[in-house]
């Protein structure tokens, strides 16, 4: 069966140990987490976890059921079956040689990024968007020399029905 990428949004009790129950379920059953984001929601007792995983239809079904089975998981929403928006952010520290400064800034402009830190030798660029946008930006900026990079996992919400 075909492997598919799925973005799953979870509402969970905001308690110690909940994240390890979830990551333990994945590692114990041999499933893979590609990315993971956790933060509290408006309700301080509830956190939202957005995770991206990959598997065939049966594995994805098991992942959804196994997540639901965990006592601290309040709601499981596999967004991949719906229309949803997804964002990631990366901070990229790129080498800024005098000859390339203009080119970097042009790319920053095209991709609607922001320069958030400037030194005599480097720019730190904040880029936000889908996985595809980040990859495209990184491909173009790579030849300039990336010194360091920090990326978030994906966060996502379903689109409101129009």
């Amino acid at each position: 069966m075909v492997e598919e990428k799925h973005t799953i949004s979870l509402l969970v009790d905001n308690q110690p140990g909940v994240l390890s129950r979830i990551s333990g379920m994945f590692s114990g059953r041999g499933y893979n987490i590609e990315s993971l984001c956790v933060a509290a929601t408006m309700d301080p007792l509830v956190s939202r976890i957005t995770l991206v995983t990959r598997g065939d239809q049966l594995i994805i079904e098991q992942i959804n059921k196994q997540l639901n089975k965990l006592v601290n998981v309040i709601k499981v929403h596999d967004l991949t079956q719906t229309d949803f928006v997804e964002r990631q952010t990366a901070l990229v520290k790129v080498r800024a040689r005098p000859a390339q400064k203009a080119e970097i800034l042009r790319l920053v402009d095209i991709f609607r990024c922001k320069v958030v830190d400037v030194s005599s030798t480097h720019y730190t660029v904040e880029v936000t968007g889908t996985d595809e946008k980040l990859e495209a930006f990184l491909d173009l900026i790579k030849p300039m020399g990336i010194k360091e990079i920090a990326r978030t996992g994906a966060i996502a919400l379903p689109r409101n029905k129009k």
């Binding site: 009790d13 390890s20 098991q62 006592v71």
Partner: protein, 566 residues
């Protein structure tokens, strides 16, 4: 006048909740961190069974829960006391046994300090419990313990661990009894979907060669009578998994015997040829299905289980039904009544005749020669106990022969570590079962290997005057692994010869129990009789044929219709 609010210690609050939850027996072992709980326990009516090892305490609580159809409670100390519970928790988790295990923890101020007898038991036990808790504030204690009982008992049952730091056990707070908790994140589905049930009835009507497969879920939801009514009414032959033995009468005409790796020939062949398989309270474990691609290849499958993750985990099904087995069977029986379905006996005849043919082709059998055959011991035990004993087992050949040759007519009478296959389970489980059912004969069918894994619990049986009977099928081997070595590893018996062992008769006597031995076939019946009549715990040491194998057998991962018959 000012009303002074009464404050209770954490230990006292536990006792209050035990009372509310109807706990009358707890199993455990004392230690430094936990001693305040035992100190309090001594002032209650609750019976405390002191085991000699924490693993024994947890298995005993498991055996108690199964024989009593109730919940098992176990209390142990921090550190090694807690880690020793892991095999027991894992076994109960695999077999869905309701249990609450309390572990003491070092004081909250020391947690994370690598203190003496500190261990992160919540971290360690996370994958082998249904849920677990570390209590961080005494104000949370009562709610947490109530939740633990509720989660352990409800839905698909399972063990829950509650870790309580010593300062919380000793601390004080006000206490008011709490109602049964409701959790927004935990809400098991009991009531099956009626549309799915109606579809199931449709398939049942069309089936020409139906088979029913019952599992441990039928025993757990007390649905044996309902499944028997259902099967008899529709004239559907029934097989079970190891955990399902006793769910359907083992002496009924529709009984096929157990399914799977050491199932009967007719059960495996019937599943291989059926056009409809109704799985109830089973999870289609690999020991039942063998090679998945060839499992029930001609069948539409109806699968009823309370745990949605059990459905479509291992096999594809035609009609999935999530719900309680008993509620589903009551509804199915009701739908049949509404429908007024009458089974045409002529229609079912060819299928039942075919099954009879398989039965006579390869019945369970052995040749009793001049050495004792293990199967013979169990057959005689079955006859002498009139089939009414509660049988616990260890794991391996002893377990399979017990499953094959003791015909269970009643549920909650066969108590075995099915999923985990935990050697050392049988003796402590027998102790728990005997406490739960003082009126019943309780027998642990053991091997000489596995009995040594928790033999220390003989002292518990003697101390609490529990007349459990231990049948050791002594072949001086780790028999099941030796059987695999014989069949698949060129008879290279590596690490399975355990000829160096204690004299089990003397060992029984050393514990203050009775020890009996049979080395020849004619001694089997007198030894069994003497043991059954004795009011004390008894170890029976049967010197059986060393190289007897369990047949039939399906090789691991092979199709279940491809059986080695002898």
């Amino acid at each position: 006048m000012e009303v002074k609010e009464l404050k209770l210690t954490g230990a006292r609050i536990l006792m209050e909740i035990f009372k509310e939850e109807g706990v009358d027996t707890v199993f455990g072992l004392i230690g430094a961190a936990v001693m305040d709980i035992f100190h309090e326990l001594a002032d209650t009516n609750i019976q405390h069974i002191m085991a000699r090892h924490e693993q024994g305490a947890v298995h005993a609580a498991d055996g108690y829960a199964r024989a009593r159809r109730s919940i098992g409670v176990c209390i142990v100390t921090s550190g090694p006391g807690a880690t020793n519970t892991i095999s027991g928790l894992a076994s109960a988790y695999m077999d869905s046994i309701p249990m609450v295990v309390f572990t003491a923890q070092v004081p909250t101020s020391l947690i994370g300090n690598d203190a003496f007898q500190e261990v992160d038991i919540v971290g360690i036990s996370r994958p082998c419990t249904k849920h677990n808790y570390l209590v961080r504030n005494i104000e949370d204690l009562a709610r947490t313990v109530k939740e633990a009982f509720y989660i352990a008992r409800s839905g698909r049952p399972g063990p829950v661990l509650v870790d309580i730091p010593k300062d919380i056990i000793q601390g004080k707070t006000s206490y008011h009894p709490l109602p049964t908790p409701s959790l927004k994140s935990y809400n098991p589905t009991y009531k099956p979907n009626i549309k799915q049930l109606k579809k199931a009835i449709g398939l049942i009507k069309d089936a020409k060669r139906p088979v029913m497969l019952a599992g441990g879920g039928v025993v757990l939801s007390s649905a044996s009578k309902k499944i028997t009514e259902f099967a008899r009414r529709l004239i559907i032959p029934v097989t079970t998994s190891l955990m399902g033995l006793g769910a359907f009468p083992g002496t009924d005409d529709l009984w096929l015997g157990m399914l799977g790796m050491h199932g009967t020939y007719r059960a495996n062949m019937a599943v291989g040829s059926c056009d409809l398989l109704i799985g109830i309270g089973v999870r289609f474990d690999d020991r039942v299905t063998g090679k998945i691609d060839t499992f029930a290849p001609h069948a539409k499958i109806i699968h009823i289980d309370i745990d949605p993750t059990s459905i479509r985990k291992n096999i594809q099904v035609t009609i999935p039904i999530v719900g309680d087995c008993k509620m589903a069977l009551i509804e199915l029986n009701r739908l049949l009544n509404e429908d007024g379905l009458v089974i045409d006996k002529e229609k079912t005849k060819p299928w039942l005749e075919q099954i009879d043919k398989w039965k006579s082709t390869a019945p369970l059998s052995y040749d009793q020669t001049d050495t004792i055959k293990p199967q013979y011991v169990i057959e005689k035990l079955y006859e002498l106990s009139k089939g009414s004993a509660i049988v616990t087992t260890e794991v391996g050949q002893n377990q399979m022969w017990a499953a094959q040759y003791y015909h269970f007519d009643r549920p909650n009478s066969f108590i075995t570590s099915g999923g985990l296959g935990c050697m050392g389970f049988g003796l402590p489980a027998a102790i728990g079962a005997q406490l739960a059912r003082p009126d019943r004969l309780v027998v642990d069918i053991a091997g000489d290997g596995s009995i040594q894994m928790n033999i220390q619990e003989m002292a518990t049986a003697v101390q609490f005057k529990l007349p459990v009977k231990i049948v050791i099928l002594n072949n001086k081997y780790l028999g099941m692994v030796r059987q695999w070595q014989q069949l698949f590893y060129d008879k290279k018996y590596v690490s399975t010869d355990i000829d160096v062992a204690p004299d089990f008769v003397k060992l029984a006597e050393a514990y203050g129990a009775i020890g009996l031995r049979a080395t020849r076939p004619e001694e089997v019946v007198p030894v069994l009789k003497k043991a059954i009549e004795a009011p004390e715990p008894v170890i029976m040491d049967f010197w059986v044929d060393r190289e007897e194998c369990v047949y039939p057998m399906v090789s691991a991962g092979g199709p279940i219709t491809d059986m080695l018959l002898a």
